[in-house]
Symmetry: C2
Subunit: 134 residues, 2 copies
């Protein structure tokens, strides 16, 4: 049996976060001591490790809740959740790439040299110089 602190060190999830997860019904302690302290089994540790990993992958707690509630035999849904998230990530990469291009344009609006004419602030404010919508 692990204490909450041991669980925290083993998974990398902070102690208050573990309690927060319990508060929203994502995990539960397997037992409590006489003095009301949480004790976790190996299964509890694995479950939290799973959640940690999924969070690192960027899934929302809601998506994770769906994931852990799944019948392990029913992997269609698991697949769906993973694929939905994959396309989300791809969309985000695309958006960030466009931002990157625009920021490069803005930074290049000024070469940083002294006594130089620089319109970087104007470039920041001006939508019309962008060739894409946002």
């Amino acid at each position: 049996m692990y204490s909450i602190g041991e669980l925290s060190r083993a998974t990398g999830v902070k102690v208050p976060t573990i309690r927060y997860y319990e508060g929203i019904g994502l995990i539960e302690a397997d037992e409590r001591t006489e003095g009301n302290q949480r004790r976790y089994s190996r299964a509890g540790l694995d479950r939290l490790g799973f959640i940690r990993h999924a969070r690192d992958l960027g899934l929302s707690l809601d998506a994770i809740r769906a994931l852990v509630a799944l019948d392990p035999a029913n992997h269609h849904e698991t697949h769906d959740i993973a694929e939905t998230h994959l396309s989300d990530i791809r969309a985000r990469i695309g958006r960030l790439r466009r931002l990157e291009a625009e920021l490069m344009r803005i930074v290049e609006a000024c070469d940083g040299g002294p006594g130089h004419d620089c319109n970087i602030l104007e470039a920041f404010g001006d939508h019309r110089q962008c060739d894409h919508e946002h």
Copy 2:
């Protein structure tokens, strides 16, 4: 002079958001009518447009606050803020690319076919299969 609704339509920033920006001291109405309604000048509109654009670029309100407080002649700092943000965005793209690779691995852990052995949930939970840290 523009009403808050006109400002909202012109910039694409929602009315409650404009009031929120005022609440945190980012903008101010140039005047109030007898009946206490906000009225904005063209300069106010431009300022909000600037903020909108910078938000779209992913800058935090704090970064924007720094940006609008700058002396326009001092473009070193402006440059710095833009470049810092640019490298932030590049780091985020890198991270998302790694997540993409891992999610692809996870999705491929199951071909979705019926009656097939699928370890997608295990793949989700298992850090050891990743070749990178997170």
